[in-house]
């Protein structure tokens, strides 16, 4: 099924009797594909409104991400949250859609400064499990009218409803960028350096540590003069040992961090771990020194490559997270690991609330397959 209008989408859902598999470009789905009748969302495409002066763009959920990004780039703007392209990591080759981006709350390195996808998503239209068209939020960036279902649907991976249209707040693309890079730091030293930089007034928009090559990188973006000033101040703050990457090298570096390129095509299961940034060294220790990791968000987002054996280190990892807080999602390799839940188990009371919401939004259980 490939609806080409919201009304058609609503009709399909209203009359559906069995599970549906909502598909954008199939570039972000994680976990087992649970079956269900394919519902191809690419027919609901097109940018319906773009006002550069109001920093707002509205598009059909099936609009290719690349189309949105190109339209913004033509006006010197961009999506603030630096959308990761995980096709390499996940071994897919589809066309990422903007609805899939929202459904996965897909957010890259700039999340630490500009917020996540959910922070820029200012409005949605979606179809509930009963086939009703629902709108929430809108096209203005300050809106507290009624409950914020926008946040609830962002990252819900289609489990509460099918997005038909999304509105985003966008931001100007900065004039230039620069990266400071240091090799040879231990995880603890890297965490400390990143905390120092992120605690400075120099507006760091990327802070990541990679265990392979022990590379720590810090990014600054903005107007030419400002970037030069902050780069110098930051270097002074951090002390000796930091090299400068020019804008092109900087962009390439953060593209690789954003897309977790180092693990693309390399055998192994991949965890995506969200913790308090300062807990990064403890997580790496629990995983073992031989586990390659890319630690973005100042250490708060850890991508770890583990062997396809046993439980893929799920027990020590989730055991530690139960003590220190945070969560881990198995992004890749579940089919090779024994009985490892892909999504992080929630405390019973929270799980009950979430389940209650899913039943209210999707009484027929059509969207039980989390997709994106």
């Amino acid at each position: 099924m490939r609806p080409t209008s919201e009304a058609e989408l609503a009709e399909i859902i209203r009359t559906a009797t069995g599970p549906l598999a909502i598909e954008g470009g199939d570039t972000r789905r994680i976990g087992p594909s649970g079956g269900g009748a394919p519902l191809d969302m690419t027919g609901l495409a097109g940018i319906s409104l773009y006002e550069p002066g109001a920093l707002t763009v509205v598009a059909g959920a099936g609009t290719p991400l690349a189309q949105v990004e190109a339209a913004l780039a033509a006006e010197g703007q961009r999506l603030p949250f630096e959308v990761p392209d995980l096709r390499g990591l996940l071994g897919r080759n589809g066309v990422s859609t903007i609805g899939g981006v929202a459904s996965a709350n897909a957010s890259g390195p700039r999340r630490i400064q500009a917020g996540a996808c959910r922070d820029s998503l200012i409005g949605i239209r979606f179809v509930s499990g009963e086939g009703n068209v629902i709108k929430n939020g809108g096209r203005v960036m300050k809106n507290v009218t009624g409950y914020d279902l926008v946040k609830l649907l962002a990252g819900a991976r289609g489990s509460l409803g099918v997005l038909s249209e999304v509105s985003f707040k966008v931001l100007p693309r900065p004039e230039t960028e620069a990266t400071l890079l240091c090799r040879g730091l231990t995880p603890a030293q890297a965490a400390a350096a990143m905390a120092k930089a992120l605690g400075s007034p120099f507006e760091v928009t990327g802070a990541a540590y990679e265990t392979q090559g022990t590379v720590t990188a810090l990014r600054i973006e903005g107007m030419e003069g400002s970037v030069g000033y902050r780069r110098a101040e930051l270097a002074r703050l951090l002390g000796a040992g930091w090299d400068v990457l020019d804008p092109a090298a900087s962009a390439a570096h953060w593209g690789a961090v954003r897309d977790v390129s180092a693990f693309a095509g390399v055998e192994g299961a991949v965890w995506r771990i969200s913790v308090k940034p300062g807990d990064m060294p403890a997580v790496l220790a629990a995983l073992g020194a031989d586990v390659p990791a890319i630690c973005d968000w100042g250490g708060g987002l850890i991508w770890a490559l583990v062997p396809l054996a046993g439980d893929g280190k799920a027990a020590p990892l989730r055991g530690l997270l139960a003590q220190i807080g945070g969560h881990a999602t198995l992004m890749r390799g579940h089919e090779h690991l024994a009985d490892v839940p892909v999504f992080h188990p929630e405390p019973a009371a929270l799980a009950a609330l979430s389940e209650g919401l899913r039943r209210k939004f999707d009484p027929k259980g059509l969207f039980s397959q989390r997709s994106a």
Binding site: V144, K151, L353
Partner: protein
């Protein structure tokens, strides 16, 4: 403004309810004397008042849980209250309710600069959160005008904004986690010092739910390093249209000022008479503020003034000193006080697409003539969040009703041009009956179902946000 008829059985059961509350709280934390409960009869929307059955002031999450368990068991409605600064009537009681005030919950629980968060109890005031970290060079970004008094609990309930959200976002963008007590007394930790949710983003829907889903007792808030400096530029134009174009051009040029404030002529005149900030008399005044080091500020202001000049300003004043900056902000910050000197006023906060600004200001001017009520406009132009202030005389019979009718017309206009009823104050009771202007029945139904899950008996702040006829069946159940 209609409120539900108090449940006579609950009112009659007051002695038993008070006795049960006194079993779980110290005597001074339960207020039930008829004169004393009057302290809680209204919030900052003072046109509406109703003394509650009782008010409680718990000091711990456990006490909040105990109170809610009692009220849940006895079927008593509960209205949570932060500092009572809501302009929308978010904390207005009903005669059969218990006010649950979080004022005693005001401690800082944890400050962590390496991970850039602070954990506070929810009764702590907004400004005192920044106060707790500013000597170490940090601040908490959302800055509603009432920040000296308003509580974090209320900020979370209303998803409060402020003048600087163009750059830093509103409460929901700066909230990492909460401890929340559900109506049945269940205590939940949602989120934490990490940056995203493991499953559904429950934190996202709790923020801005106007105290209808649970009582937040603790919050993990993101703190940011203070910028090195900030400086505003004052730009005056002889037309609203041109000022609007200037705002749009600044944004399109790739600059993201930390604030862009807009004042129209009636507002300029009133504030100038009141605060004497030295504003030029013109149709539209912009205050554009940028942040950074001295060099960075110069770089940005040079670009902004170049853009401003293209539109032939009648005044262009770059602040050269801390003192001058203060003076430029003085008028803007005293705008509400200035209007209060002239008359009673009602402050709206609808948001519009920035492109609709000239049209909306023109229509508001027409409505002002039609209703015979003066209006001054002051607002956050970068994000389209308007604050029309309608002047009226509370002592003149019928004037409040006239003012409310005009306010409703303005908010309908905001929705009509693609905006919304409220940008940062919340719906409360004030805009409750206008929700159908912005939402279709099925849109609201989906929101009501969220409350069904969190508060199945509909006891928590239930007479707010949604029109009473829409929630009637649920509140009765």
């Amino acid at each position: 403004m209609e409120m539900p008829i108090a449940n006579a059985a609950i009112v009659a059961g007051k002695p038993a309810i008070v006795a049960a509350l006194l079993e779980v709280l110290p005597p001074d934390a339960v207020i039930f004397d008829e004169a004393e409960v009057r302290a809680y009869e209204c919030d900052a929307l003072t046109a509406y008042r109703c003394p509650p059955l009782a008010a409680v002031l718990p000091s711990t999450t456990a006490e909040v849980s105990a109170v809610l368990k009692i009220c849940h068991r006895m079927g008593v409605p509960v209205v949570p209250r932060g500092s009572g600064t809501s302009l929308a009537g978010g904390a207005l009681p009903t005669a059969d309710c218990v006010i649950l005030g979080v004022a005693k919950l005001n401690d800082v629980l944890e400050t962590d600069y390496d991970n850039r968060f602070i954990k506070v109890q929810s009764g702590r005031t907004n400004l005192s959160v920044t106060g707790a970290v500013e000597s170490d060079g940090f601040f908490y970004a959302p800055d509603p005008s009432s920040q000296l008094a308003c509580a974090i609990a209320g900020n979370i309930a209303m998803n409060s904004g402020g003048a600087h959200c163009l750059k830093y976002g509103v409460t929901t963008n700066n909230l990492l986690g909460v401890t929340i007590v559900l109506m049945d007394g269940t205590v939940l930790e949602i989120g934490g010092a990490y940056l995203d949710a493991p499953g559904l983003d429950l934190l996202g829907v709790i923020c801005g739910s106007e105290g209808q889903l649970g009582v937040v007792t603790e919050a993990v808030l993101r703190i940011l390093p203070k910028p090195e400096g900030a400086r505003p530029v004052l730009i005056g134009y002889d037309s609203n249209e041109v000022a609007g174009e200037c705002v749009s051009d600044i944004i399109k040029a790739g600059i993201l000022p930390v604030a862009i404030e807009f004042m129209d002529r009636p507002c300029i005149e009133a504030t100038e008479a009141f605060a004497k900030a030295g504003y030029p008399m013109c149709e539209a005044l912009l205050i554009v503020e940028v942040e950074g080091s001295a060099t960075e500020i110069d770089e940005q202001l040079a670009l902004i003034t170049e853009i401003a000049r293209r539109h032939n300003p009648v005044e262009l004043r770059q602040s050269q000193s801390e003192e001058e900056s203060k003076k430029i902000w003085l008028g803007r910050k005293s705008a509400f006080g200035a209007m209060g000197q002239i008359n009673d006023y009602m402050c709206l906060d609808g948001t519009i697409p920035v492109s609709a600004l000239p049209l909306v200001l023109r229509r508001i001017g027409e409505m002002s003539k039609q209703y015979g009520l003066d209006v001054a406009n002051v607002f956050h132009a970068g994000d389209g969040n308007m604050h029309p202030l309608i002047l009226f005389d509370a002592n003149k019979p019928g004037d409040l009703e006239l003012c409310e009718a005009m306010g409703a017309d303005i908010l309908k206009l905001c929705v009509e041009v693609g905006g919304c009823l409220t940008g940062e104050h919340g719906v409360g009771i004030e805009k409750r009956d206008l929700m159908h202007v912005q939402f279709e029945p099925q849109d609201m139904e989906m929101q009501l179902r969220v409350k069904d899950v969190f508060d199945p008996k509909w006891l928590l702040n239930s007479a707010k946000v949604f029109p009473l006829d829409v929630t009637a069946g649920r509140r009765a159940g």
